[in-house]
Each structure stands twice: as structure tokens, then as C-alpha cells.
Assembly symmetry: D2
Homo-oligomer: 366 residues x 4
């Protein structure tokens, strides 16, 4: 099936393999009249770029984005925007030793069984480089949200056992782990160094906060805002869990604790607390949307592992080459991007919810 | 937007409100030639029926399903199957006191803001009764899976702080909490009684296991099997989290611990462990699929709560009427149903993945 | 595949067979706040009802619609509207003789080959009764359009060789052939009587005009307004052709003849002529949308015909029972309905085309 | 809305403007294991290339396709295939005089009204160059069909008033009008020369024949094979009509004439005639699929025309630059491509129609 697209009214379609000619995305449904430069997208891509610290791979790609369509004289035209990044620094030979072997924790085996063929170079389509398309599209979605006063912000909540105890966005910009807590970041760095010297890797948790949401965004039944966010997050490689608001903790709670009382603040309806994470009945409730995603440890480790090969024989593997000991910091911008894409689509879909607003939109005197 | 459908090749569309004339579902894409009786569906609906124990609402609905189309002489015909359950035992007056007030933890406020109108009776569209359509469709999906040797089984993993310590399916059938651990069930019953006497409610966790999956089901990028399962689960009211395999625990783990080694067993490729939960790169890997969903405490509690009304004034509310102190036991069959629906759709979508199998399917000598 | 739904933001899903328990439709994406009574829908259904004249079948069904969801106190709520019509006057035995034989011009053979099973009673899913769902949904779409000042009007343009030479809507209401030309209607009646006495049937052409369209509705590439209208029309059983504006005649024309000059009229941009039929580049251009559909002759004729049976033997068939000698008059409301459904969906999809209008829609001071 | 994609299980997404950096397509849902070289696609693109005769524009683009993803070692991998053609020979200044004026018969005015901005260079997104993506995708679809023994063949049926009177495919290859009748081609050339010397242009009709179809392809209700073909054809710029089988002629016919008798031939069920055009009830019936599309005359003509400008003033325009006096010959391969794309999607969607075949597909012993 065709599974490389997501979204209805704002839809992205990604393409490309780790070691193919290029990777990219087509973003369809971008409204006309949005100011957009290649640089807006490049800023986002730079945040996921490898080679930024000792904890990210040394692959030195420029990852320069090319805007191929949909923009005219600095403005979007309403037609699909095609974005492309050429692959350059491909050490395909690094991967020759894995062409016949299924790496544990990777999609090698499932690709092989599903398709009977696989582009093993660098993980092919299941490589983290596939997220280039998501992030490029996310940059556009974020610009749209910015124009509507909505802000999506993600950060590293934990790396392995090391969790933040405060959220200081200024601090986050200063450390390469995107942790908004300098103390925790320092401890996490030590933990990661230990992982690396042990030829091992670490997982972590990313938290994302969306501010400025109007009320009522998301569709009641299957296209609940949190349901689509969950799908968007689990569609990112290495994500193993999603929770919104109190999430799994709510399951151990009681109604009296977990319900958020409605109050009036500055003449507007608000919630006194936000256990719900900003969503009630699948629709935004005006509070901040707060969710978390669980990221598994990087499966590519240099430690020797048991596995089997394409001939169905047991064997061992040591994965060398360039791999992050933790992908959490680079995944932060991917989480932000997928959140922004999901929310833009929900905002557009909501526009036909009420007859009175449709009539105002299509009033003849405009 | 139209948000009441889910699935591509196997698609369900639910409709109906808690206190409307009826609720139902249209199931489109059911293959022809499947044996199907109304009773197959009724068995599933009975599992979500209220009034089965002191922990479920006393609403005594028969909830008899009517098969309106798509079945001829006991077999499906390939055309859409329309299923309907009439609403009968509606105490609409019970809800008159909430017509002007937004219940904390409910979708009253968000519906009001999105649509400017709401059917307040029994929660309207956001009532748990909406799941009737899901479960009726799930019964059909389960029959399809059964024919393919695939089995979806869910159970109560925890209620409030009480967690199971073993999985004994026989035991599960014996207690009304669907807990596969008699001891835990007994403790949980005590906990729920305490909640009730405190005019309070509890949350819990449901775990679901899928056995017999072929390898390679799910689409690599946005339509990953776990991504679509996550969406399906978060689309159920009251679900606040989803995790597959080790889930959030994986985030605190290392690659060496979390990777599942491939081995050969009985001549087939298997995994030695199943931290992944049966999915690699978004495709089934042949191991059991194992996931969990977090359910929040029932928001309708009899305790007095602060809230606001439709005129924007602060007020208080005590919610009486019939409400489960915990919805987990009745949600078990909903989780199973949504999982079955998602997997059938993924199986059908996978059929065009390989040119060799397509050629065999359309060979001229058939 | 699931093929019983159409539309993105306004989506209908029909279900039901000619001789099943009932037929119906779920209409999802209806905006909240639209006034809607069962009678609004009944009026539309009555227009496609059989038994209205000697040229329509004698099947005396009441075809009373039941509104099962989505309406509360006379207003739509934004949730899916489920509409159902019970089948009552089923002479299933009339069809027993065709259970083993493939009727020429019908879908019997293709259903049989595709599904390996078929509900042969009255044509099952391929019966004209399937259009009940379309017309019920069309009634809702038409109400939405009416609120926006848009009017969809179809009529019989020709029956067999008899074509209208004027369009007088008042006249159309007076004759049962929905021909807006009294003279042509009289000739057509004579032609149909001759067909009937010859145990034969007739085809015809329906023309549809949409007035009041805003400019720019429809999406440039694959979701062109005329492309979606073409799909909607060809999805109606017995339709064999679609043309917009000058249609096939344009193919024999020249650019100088076929181009419509733009002019200013009453201070607005208009077209001097309307060879385009109201669509330029797939978007409405502000002129009337004008299209035609070709309807084949009713395939059920009493004349003896050659055919084969399910055992693959050649045989002969005489189709008795109740069949219209021409379906064009009853198809007029189906064409109107499918046009209205298509246009509403296009209007909703267009709402996110421009950033400036999105910003106005979501302005914070609302 | 996002309208640049079409198809469910085999889905294409086109992007690009006439004078942007490039144009292209992402083809998602291509099965793995199909042999594919860039040359397979280039052959198709060359057929739509301008500059091949005096009747096609002199724009001398190489239009070399680049395969950016989804192919590994000469085989498709099941991942999306991204195809791109760089724009090179752009005389943007040729279009400067139309930046402020709405060309009659073009989408200038509707784009302007819908989006409030337009890339006027060469028609931007509404240029015929948009079909590059369709044709590139069509080449892949055609390869899939070839592997299944299905052949799609289109040709020029008429140009202006000149119609073919025979179908000789060998002859078609010899003349640049793609007319399978040497005599008609000669007359048509004379007609076109007269058009050109009159600064005028011509329309025409393309006919398409699909051979080798299995029975039962297409979905009964909204996704009828002919409905989706109609949409695909009307989505091509300049197409104003679609008819299948006898099409509009069927509307003037009788049931006895129009019904195709079933017969047994070589032990198989066939139709004695093919008035239906190979589709019954929206599903292929095993006969050749035969349909026609009406193409309007090229709107860009050098004759002086009345029009208005963006300031709402009446004015005149003479369109110079490079324009085909008839687009029919170059549109032949576009019609073939869209037909192939539609049929592949229908074939894939059909694979889950029957439980017995699904069980065989997923049998455990494979």
C-alpha cells in the first residue's frame, strides 16, 4: 500500500533512502500567501543534522535543502511544495558487511520478509535520514502555526535514567542534548560517555508542549487530536510509547484527582489544572497540549550480538560505522515537526465544523 | 471534517449518540464469503454491555444488534455491512441538570466551543455508547483474523494501583474485571468498593496480545502498524497513553538490553526476547504483538466538583445517575476490537507489496 | 477495498441491497447548526420514488426515511447523520428465475466473478435502490448549498432521440419525465409507449446547472471540480458519459470559438459566453456550471435475450417484473444529489486555500 | 486542500510549475521486485515531449528524468519512487506581458481568485508541463500492467472535424498526430495548417483501449472503474468530456440494441458485442475497456482576444510564444498514463475482495 503520506487537508509525502540519490518531501495543501524562504527550512534541518557533538554521528552532510516548487517571489502559491536534500557523504561500503545479516532491533528482517528485497545501505528507507522530509515539512507547518499564534516546543525530558527536574528553555539551547536543565544535562553526558565506552547506547523521553491552541481543534471520534498525535509520534522510528497529560500515571489515579476543574480567569473559561494535557474528548481544550514520547536505545551498537543472516543461519554481528549513542537530541525537532504537521491539518479540517462560520467565510460581499 | 471513519481497505464508519434513536456502524471492505451471523456480533456486544456487575452501570439495555445489509444466506457478499443497535433505556431526564454545565473531565466544553451546539443527553456523541459501533465492527474483524489463524486477546493489567502478577486466561473469564489473576482481581474489587464509597472512581491499564501474525504487516513510514494501533487506541475515549513492547521502560534501557537477538527455532527465524513487542520498523516481526493502553479514571463522579456553566459562571456540580467507577473491564473488548480492525486493514493493504505475489494472484490460469 | 464512501471533508457512505432489510447512508462532516427535519430529506426521496407514473416501476414502497443520529432539536450537531429507509415491498420470488442467470447489461456476472457470491434479489447492491442513500445525503448537501446561495438544478435533456428545445422549469414540474419543454415531453411519452409495447427500453441525457457558485472552488490538479463531478456522475449506475460546458462539441471547435472572453459586468469580472461550463483549470469561474450525463437504456427488458448461466451454459432470458422503460426521470434527482454532495465537499476543502482567510477565521478576538 | 495526489493503494503525487526549478512525482505503493530503469520512464516522457513536429511547441527541453529513490540494483524496493525533471529552457520573459492579464480559456483568473497570488510564468501549475509527473508515473504503472498481461493503448480519434475511419497501430507510429489512419492524418495535418495560418487552434478526441483485463476489477459503488477513469481523465487539463463504450450514443439507443449478450467462447464467458465498453456495474467484464475523452482547442491563440486585467479593466490580448495548435497528439500518452495509474490502483484494491483468496495469500505454508 501507499503509506508514505499523512494528513488530509495538509498532507506530506516523504521519499528517499539513506544512501539513495536524495531524500525529500512534497507538502500539499500549504495555503497561499505564506512567506517562505529556503532558510526557514534550513534552520529546522540544521537542528536534526548529524555531526554536531560527540553524541551525534560524524556523518558530515551539508544537508542543504532545495525548494523545487510552490514558492514564487518569497510567497507560497497554494501549490505543492517539493523539498529535496541530496545525499552526499555516503560511505556505502561501511554497510557491505550487513547486507547479508539482520541487525537486531532494526527493520532489516521485516523489510526482507515484506518485500523480498531491501536496500541495505544505511538502513535504506528505515534510516533516520527519512526524517529529513518530516522536518522540512515541519518547518513549513511551524511557520503557519506561528502566523496563528501557536507555538510547538519539544525538549529532552530524560536520557536513560537521567531526568530533568526543571524546564529552562534558555538552558536547553546551550547544551547539545536539548535538555532544559543544565544539571541534568551534565549528568546525562556522563551517562552517555559510559554507554559509549561500554559499546552500548541509551534511550530517553521527549516532551512536547503546544501553546496558543484555539479550543475545539480535533475531530470527536477517530480523528481525535491526541489520536492523530499518537500516530504521528509512533510513526517516527524508535518511538515505543506516547502519553498525553498525565498519561500512564492517570491510570493509577482517581477521578477526583485527575479531573481538571473549570474556572473563570480573565473572563475566559480555563482549567485549574491540566491533567488532561490540553485535550478533552479528542479536541483541544485551550490549555497547553502536553505529551511525551518514549524513544528506545539506538539499536546499532558496537557490542557483539547474536543474529541470523539471509540464508537463515545463526551468526554474530558487531556494528561499526557512525551511530549516535542516543538519538533523543536529534529526534527533538522531529517530534516538534510531526506535532506541527498534525496540528495544522487539524486546524484546517476544523474550518467546516460550523454552518455560521462557513456562511461568514463565503459571504457574498467579500 | 468527516472524522467518523477509520481504515483504508477495511474501513468502519460509526454513528450515533447516547440518547439518540440508535447507534451503529457501516463496515466497508469486508471480503465476500465470510460466514457471519448476528450472533457472532452479539457475543462481542455482550462483553461491553452495562449492568453485568456492581462495577458497571445499571443501565439495562438489551443492545440487540440488527444486521441490515451485506450478508446473504449466512455469508458476507463483499458489500458494506450495516449494523445497528436501538437505544431503549434512556433516562434523558437524568441529564437535564447537566445541560447547562460543563462536567470536568468530559467533552462538554470542547463540543460546545467547536460546534456551538451540543446534544448533552448522556454525553451525546462522546458517550461510551459510541463504542457499540466499534465493537460490532471488531466482531467482524476478529472473525476474519480467526480465519487467518490470528488471535487478538486483551485483559485488565491494572486497576488503580492494583496490578496483575500473572496471566491466566481461564481465570480472566471468571471475574468481571477481566483480570487474568484471581488474587489481583480480589484486591482490585476491594479497591473499587473503597472508591465507590468515597464517591470517587479509578483508572487502569489494559494489555493486548496478538498471536499468529505473519511477518511484514504494516507500512514502513506513516502507516506503521504500531502507529495505526496507537491512533486506534487513543481514539477510544478515556485513553491517555499507548506503549508497545517495553514502551516507556525502553527509554530507560540500553541497546544491549533492549535489542532482541534473532535466532533460528524449528527452522524459522525468531527473536530470543520480545522487547520490541512484535514490531520492527513499523512492520510485524513474527513475535507476539504486545501493547498497553492507559485508561483515565471515570470522570463522572458523585463528589462535588468546581466547574463553570454555559453562561460563563463558576458553579458546582454533583454527577448522579449510573456510572461505572472504572471503565477498564468494559473497555477490554473495545481495545480488542480496535486492534482487530487495525490489523485487518494492515493485512489487506500489504497484499500489493510484492510484484511476484501480485502476479501469482492474477495468474491467468486461475 | 472499501469503496462505498465518497468525499473528504463532507463524506457519505451508503449501504444496503435492493431486497435486504434496509438501505441507508451515513453523512459525515455536516456542519453544526444547519436546520434539518426528516421532511427535508423525504421531499428529495419522493422525487426518486417508484410508482409515480406509468413510466416508473409499480413497486409501491413508502420509502420513509428515518433520521437516526446527528440532529438535536431540529439542528445538526456536527456529528454523523445516519439515515435509513426500510425495504418493505419485496417480491423476492420475482427474481428467483434470475438467480442462476447473468442478465445482459447488468452487473450480475461481474459481481459473481469478483466476489464468488451474489445477492441476486433485485440486483442486490447494484440495484437502483442504492441511490436512496445518495439522494438522502443529497438533500442535506442541497440544504447547505441553499444557505450559501448556491442552487443545483437538473432536468431531462433527452429521451432516446427526443430532445428538448427550451428550458422552462415551471413546465418541468408538470410532467413526470422532468422535461422542461412540454412539447418534447409529449413526443417523448409517445416514444416511450412504443418502446414498452415493443418490450424494449430507452436511454437519455440529463443536464445539470449550478448557479451562485463562488469563484475558485475545486483543487487544481487531481481534485478538479469537474473531475470530481465526472467521478460522481459515472458512479451512478447506467451513466456512460459526462461532459462539461461544450464537452465533446468543443473537440470539433477552434480556440477562437471556444474561448470565453472575460468582460466587466456590473463591476464584476464575468465571461461573455460559457463554452467552458463554469470551470477553468478545474476551479469554478463564477459562471453557471453546466454539465450533461448520458444514461444508457434500462437493461431489464422483457424481450427474449441470449445469455449464459452460472454453470457456464448458454441460455435465454425474458426479464419480467417491474422495471422502468427509462430511468432518466428518476435519475434527475440522483444527478442533482451527487452534484450537491461534490460541490459541498469542494467548498469545505477550499477553506484552507489562503493564509489571510485562515488568519481571519482563527483570529483571537472572535 | 491537498489535491495533488490520486489513488489509494497505488498513489501518485505530482508537483512543480512550468517555470519553477523542476517538476516531478512521487509514486507510492509500487510493489517490490519490478524491474525498472530510468530509460523505461524516459521512453514515456519522450512521447509527450515538445518540439517533435511543427504541430508541437518549439520548446527544446531535454526533459531528462532522474530516479531519486525507490529503486535498488535495477529493481523497485517497495518504497516510494521519486522522479524529477529539471526545467531548463525557460523563456520567462515571454510571459511578462501576461502577468497582469487573464488569458481567456486559461486558469489565470481562477487561480488568482482562489489564491490571491499566482505564478503566471508559463501558466505555473496549470501548465501542460504538470503532466510530466503523470506520464513518469504512468510509465511505472504500465510496466506493472505489462507484467500482468494488460495493455493500455490510446490514439488520436479525431482532430477538429477530421475523424479516423480505421485503427492501424503501425500507421499511428508513423505520423506525429498519433492517428492510426494515414488518410485521416493527412487531412488533419491540412486542417491544422489552416488553423495555424488563421492564428487559431483545434480540439480533438482521444480514444483508449485496454486489453487483457481480468473480470471484476473496480469497486461497485463510488469507486467504480469507469468513475475513477472519468475522474482521472477530467483531471487532465483541457479535457471536457468522457464516455465509455457507446457513451452518449447509448442515450439515444434502446435496451435491445445496447445490451451485450453473454456467450461462451473457447469455454469462457464473453460478450457478443461491447456496447458497454468493458465495464458492467463499475467492474471490468473481461471485454476490452474502451473510452474516449474530448479535448478542447488550445486556448493560447495568437488572434487578438477581449479580456480583463488584474485591476478589473477590460483590455485585449494577443498570445505569442510557443504553443501547440492542438494538444491532442501530446495528450495521448497522458491519457494512457492516467488510465494505467487508475487500473493498477483498482487491481491492488481488488485483492482483498474474497476471503478464499485472502486465505490462500496468507497461507501459513508459504
Amino acid at each position: 500500500m501507499a503509506g508514505s503520506s499523512v494528513g488530509q487537508n495538509f498532507r506530506i509525502t516523504t521519499w528517499g533512502e539513506s544512501h539513495g540519490a536524495a531524500l525529500g518531501v512534497v507538502v500539499d495543501g500549504v495555503p497561499a500567501g505564506l512567506s517562505l524562504e529556503a532558510e526557514d527550512i534550513q534552520v529546522f534541518l540544521n537542528r536534526r543534522k548529524p555531526g554536531q557533538s560527540k553524541f551525534t554521528t560524524a556523518r558530515l552532510e551539508a544537508d542543504r535543502v532545495e525548494v523545487l516548487s510552490g514558492v514564487f517571489e518569497g510567497k507560497t502559491t497554494g501549490t505543492p511544495i517539493s523539498l529535496m536534500v541530496r545525499n552526499k557523504d555516503q560511505h556505502s561500503k561501511d554497510y557491505s558487511n550487513i547486507s547479508e545479516v539482520f541487525r537486531p532491533g532494526h527493520a532489516d528482517y521485516t523489510f526482507w520478509e515484506k518485500y523480498g528485497i531491501r536496500d541495505y545501505r544505511g538502513g535504506g528507507r528505515s534510516s533516520g535520514r527519512e526524517t529529513i522530509g518530516r522536518v522540512a515539512a515541519g518547518a513549513i507547518a511551524s511557520k503557519i502555526l506561528e502566523d496563528l499564534g501557536i507555538c510547538v516546543k519539544a525538549y529532552t525530558k530524560s536520557i536513560g535514567p537521567v531526568e530533568i527536574s526543571k524546564v529552562d528553555f534558555e538552558e536547553m539551547e546551550k547544551n547539545r542534548l536539548y535538555m532544559p536543565d543544565a544539571g541534568a544535562a551534565e549528568v546525562a553526558e556522563g551517562y552517555l560517555e559510559a554507554c559509549m565506552s561500554d559499546l552500548n547506547s541509551s534511550g530517553g523521553v521527549i516532551e512536547c508542549v503546544v501553546t496558543g491552541m484555539p479550543v475545539g481543534i480535533g475531530e470527536p471520534v477517530f480523528d481525535k487530536l491526541d489520536a492523530n498525535l499518537a500516530k504521528a509520534m509512533l510513526s517516527i522510528g524508535a518511538v515505543k510509547g506516547f502519553e498525553i497529560g498525565d498519561g500512564f500515571a492517570a491510570s493509577g489515579s482517581t477521578g477526583a484527582e485527575n479531573n481538571d476543574a473549570f474556572i473563570i480567569q480573565d473572563g475566559r473559561i480555563c482549567k485549574e489544572t491540566n491533567h488532561a494535557g490540553g485535550v478533552l474528548g479528542g479536541m483541544s481544550d485551550g490549555s497547553d497540549i502536553v505529551f511525551r514520547v518514549a524513544i528506545k536505545p539506538t539499536p546499532s551498537i558496537s557490542k557483539k550480538q547474536h543474529t541470523v543472516n539471509v540464508s537463515g543461519e545463526e551468526t554474530e554481528i558487531e556494528i561499526h560505522g557512525r551511530h549516535d549513542p542516543v538519538i533523543v537530541p536529534r529526534a527533538v525537532v522531529v517530534v516538534e515537526s510531526m506535532a506541527a504537521i498534525t496540528i495544522v491539518d487539524a486546524l484546517f479540517s476544523n474550518m467546516s465544523a460550523r454552518m455560521d462560520l462557513i456562511k461568514e467565510f463565503y459571504r457574498k460581499d467579500r
